[in-house]
């Protein structure tokens, strides 16, 4: 139970630090920030968010609609190929396309050779821009909308649609007046998740030179050495995120009203033929091609023929050990909290879970400076104290792997917790009671019933945390110990040096591991559909 309180405090710490600065501290350069860059950060972040929101809906909803209501060649395969871009961190996609669309790169060289009109070539050259970033982010984030919209379409009782037809509505009228309105909460929730990820993105916008909150925070923190200013920027960002979280919760609540899992009837999909079938195939295949197949092929080509290797294996080892330790810690803490909730149900404990649940919305940059500020101060204090005993000053905590793992815990505890809670909720209390009445003690019930039933959820939680840690860029970048490199950091560094081709092997490694949870996700979605 103490662990649960501790965990909640840990998650709350960075937020409290950041908000505390907002309330109690003044930054010398704050008025300067307000006059010069603040409105640009807000404008760019909002523009990018709106563009990504439009992008993910335009890609995700039609795909989900075609997959759910029509039969065409390749539908089953496409239904899960559409998930693959989830394996890509947006920054890797951005680096890959930048390399691919380079002026002297293969695409533009070919276009010049066939004398393509400039209005086609120009936008491709200008990928490092807000529209470019929006396209990159949309290509990796649309699966949120696709998944939630597809689930909503599948959970709509067929008889509701049939009621629509029987009231004299045509197919498209039913779609617009029944199907879409009923799926709207799910589509909104998926879009909000994508926007949250957009606000949290650092790698893409930094590389594309788009000045948003995340780049602004890092610039203020490192460039201007203005801790208070960075924290104040972070709290404004948190304000936006909090708004999104509230909206998302509201739509999630509506999803429950609109879905009818008890009377889900199998419905006959309309079979498409001829050019309609081809159109559907292309529409569903395009996002996957652009968001996964093409960049992966490019990365593979670069890795095989051009990239200068070096240090990949030691980087991989570093990354895996770090991600392994972090995911075990995160899932261990999440287990303690989940079981504290189960065994000693109390209102304040479920509040703790709610607080933890907000962690997924915290941008990595905010988490990083939120933990760096207090522990950096602690280090200074420690060093000053120890200097009296002749100990060299150094970064005791803020330069350690421990702090990095702490930051990952804050960021990813919600992910692990969500997985475990849903696993645990499937073990209904009556199972525990049955075990007790059949002569088992509390601890025997845990060993003989919970361990075998929870194994899958625990492994899934570990895997998802592992991959998230592996992909996480800004927190790792800010908090890693000196000279400690991971795959993600290496990719970032090489891209920063415009060595995009050399970054390919490490990128491929991240994506290969990132595919594992996507495959797992697809299997669980399938299992849910066949229940």
């Amino acid at each position: 139970m103490i662990t649960a309180i501790g965990a909640a405090l840990c998650v709350a710490l960075p937020v409290l630090v950041v908000l505390g600065f907002m309330l109690f501290s003044t930054s010398e350069s704050w008025s300067h920030l307000v006059e010069t860059v603040l409105w640009r950060y807000i404008l760019h972040s909002v523009l990018l968010s709106v563009a990504v929101a439009i992008g993910v809906v335009m890609i995700g909803v039609p795909a989900a609609w075609l997959i759910s209501f029509y039969a065409f060649p390749g539908r089953r395969l496409l239904s899960w190929l559409l998930l693959l871009p989830m394996a890509y961190p947006a920054y890797i996609l951005a680096y890959t396309y930048t390399g691919l669309l380079d002026y002297s790169g293969p695409v533009l060289t070919w276009m010049r050779n066939i004398d393509a009109p400039t209005w086609v070539m120009w936008p491709l050259l200008e990928i490092r821009s807000i529209p470019g970033a929006a396209v990159m982010l949309s290509l990796v984030l649309y699966p949120y909308v696709y998944l939630l919209a597809r689930a909503a379409f599948l959970e709509q009782a067929a008889n509701v649609m049939e009621a629509g037809y029987s009231l004299g509505q045509t197919r498209s009228q039913v779609f617009l007046r029944v199907v879409i309105p009923m799926a709207r909460p799910a589509i909104v929730a998926g879009t909000l998740l994508a926007v949250m990820e957009t606000l949290a993105d650092y790698g893409t916008v930094e590389f594309f030179g788009v000045q948003t909150f995340t780049t602004g925070i890092v610039r203020t923190f490192y460039g201007l050495r203005d801790t208070a200013g960075a924290a104040q920027l972070a709290s404004i960002l948190l304000g936006f995120v909090a708004l999104l979280v509230i909206l998302e919760r509201l739509s999630r609540r509506k999803i429950q009203y609109y879905s009818d899992q008890n009377r889900r009837l199998s419905r006959l999909a309309v079979t498409l033929t001829g050019w309609r079938a081809i159109f559907a195939m292309v529409l569903c295949a395009a996002p996957m091609m652009l968001g996964f197949a093409l960049p992966t092929a490019v990365l593979g080509y670069w890795t095989l023929f051009y990239a200068e290797g070096g240090a990949l294996w030691s980087l991989t080892l570093n990354s895996f050990v770090l991600a392994g330790i972090a995911s075990l810690v995160v899932v261990g803490v999440a287990l303690v909290i989940a079981y504290a909730n189960r065994l000693y149900p109390a209102p304040w404990l479920s509040n703790v879970t709610t607080v933890i649940g907000l962690g997924y919305a915290l941008p990595g940059v905010v988490v990083a400076i939120g933990v760096l500020i207090p522990f950096g101060a602690l280090d200074q204090w420690l060093s000053r104290g120890l200097m009296a005993f002749g100990v060299e000053p150094r970064l005791w905590i803020s330069g350690s792997i421990g702090l990095l793992i702490f930051a990952y815990t804050v960021r990813f505890l919600a992910v692990a917790n969500g997985n475990l809670v849903s696993g645990l909720s499937r073990i209904r209390p009556s199972l525990d009671h049955s075990g007790r009445l059949l002569g088992r003690t509390q601890s025997q019930v845990l060993r003989q019933i919970h361990v075998p039933l929870m194994r899958g959820s625990v492994l899934t939680a570990i895997l998802i945390c592992f991959v998230d840690v592996l992909k996480e860029l800004p927190a790792t970048l800010i908090l890693r110990p000196f000279d400690f490199n991971t795959l993600a950091v290496r990719v970032y560094d090489l891209a920063g040096d415009e060595r995009l081709i050399d970054a390919a092997p490490a990128s491929l490694m991240i994506i290969a591991v990132g595919l594992l949870p996507v495959i797992l996700l697809n299997r669980s979605v399938h299992a849910a559909n066949h229940d």
């Binding site: 209904r428 199972l431 049955s434 007790r436």
Partner: protein, 374 residues
């Protein structure tokens, strides 16, 4: 005193003055109940009447505010001490089945048999599989069984360690109506064959009739009546019990003698004394099968609806007082709606309740009488 001792030793389950609360609110108030050995009892009542809380207390998942619970004369729970659930010798079948999804049918049944010698446990399992009629399905997993099969396995699992008492918490409510009725009778037969004492909780009176030897009708945390199904249906002690266990209507009447009342349907005689003074207003409770349509009867009413049931009609007849009564009519008596039709009472036992008003007469002999004429 010695007689009381032998009685409680003979009883399978004894509840004495049991008071329970849920989330801080008292939901069971001073309940007494005794279940005989090998008896199948039922707690019947609307949702929220405290019946499930009562069951959880017997299983040991609920602390007592007051009273005690005894099993075969041994104290299980008092407000100060509770035997742990795993040491009670009480089995339970849950509403949501609660089979262990990671274990096969036979492993589920064997779960409570860890202390048994291997060969005997095996015999017990196959005996139970025979009893529930699922021989050959022992290697299946719960999700490979139908709802009814799952519920029977849950029953076998709970029965396996030969508990002194089996509790069933609305075990059939997740099943469809037809299966529900069949399974209730089936489970009754299985439990009778194994000679086990059991207590079923339900809100469905048909399930209670199919299953139980005696039924305790509960209302707002109290037991109103604990009797056989026949008595509860035909000799209910309160209007609540009368209405809860089956259809029926109430007509106004007044006491006209020691064993008679006068009513819009004539002078009605009872087989026992009311203990109410002459003139005391009462309610007479009538079930549809107590009333028969008779063209020659002097008591008449207007036919306002009729429901064809094949062998007979159910007529709804409105008396002059405005009360609508259900009655049975032979299938070929096809009267038109609005016609004036005759009614005749055919009563085994007259059910009379005092009208619920405060009685002002000091010499009124009935403590429950609430309205003798001044």
């Amino acid at each position: 005193m010695p007689q009381i001792m032998t009685e409680s030793v003979m009883d399978a389950l004894t509840l004495r003055d049991l008071t329970l609360s849920y989330d801080g609110d008292a939901v069971v108030h001073g309940v007494d109940l005794a279940l005989k050995h090998r008896e199948l009892g039922c707690l019947l009542g609307p949702s929220g009447c405290g019946k499930s809380t009562l069951l959880r207390a017997i299983a040991g998942f609920q602390a007592l505010d007051d009273g005690e619970i005894l099993l075969a004369g041994e104290t299980l729970s008092t407000p100060n001490a509770m035997v742990l659930p795993e040491h009670r010798g009480v089995g339970m079948v849950f509403q949501d089945v609660a089979l262990f999804p990671h274990l096969t049918v036979s492993d589920n049944i064997a779960f409570g048999l860890t202390d048994w010698p291997k060969p005997e446990a095996r015999t017990r399992i196959s005996e139970l599989l025979d009893l529930i009629g699922l021989q050959g399905l022992d290697a299946r997993y719960p999700h490979e069984l139908s709802g009814g099969q799952q519920q029977r396995v849950a029953l076998a699992r709970a029965m396996a360690p030969k508990p002194k008492l089996l509790l069933l918490d609305e075990p059939f409510s997740g099943l469809d109506t037809e299966l529900r009725g069949r399974l209730a009778s089936e489970v009754r037969a299985i439990l009778k064959a194994d000679g086990i004492s059991a207590l079923l909780v339900t809100h469905d009176q048909r399930e209670a009739f199919d299953f139980a030897d005696r039924i305790a009708v509960m209302r707002a945390g109290r037991i109103e009546q604990f009797d056989t199904a026949y008595q509860i249906y035909h000799e209910p002690v309160s209007e609540f019990v009368a209405h809860f266990v089956g259809p029926g209507e109430v007509i106004d009447a007044s006491v006209s003698g020691i064993r008679s009342v006068s009513s819009p349907l004539g002078e009605l005689a009872s087989d026992s004394d009311f203990g109410l003074p002459v003139g005391c207003p009462v309610h007479v409770f009538l079930r549809p099968d107590d009333l028969i349509h008779d063209d020659h009867s002097p008591y008449r009413g207007r036919l306002i609806a009729k429901h064809f049931r094949g062998a007979h009609h159910v007529y709804e007849v409105q008396l002059e007082s405005g009360v609508v009564l259900g009655c049975l009519a032979p299938s070929h008596h096809n009267h038109e709606l609005g016609e004036n039709v005759g009614l005749r009472l055919e009563l085994e036992h007259l059910v009379v309740f005092p009208v619920k008003r405060l009685c002002l007469r000091e010499d009124c002999v009935n403590a429950r009488c609430t309205g003798c004429p001044a």
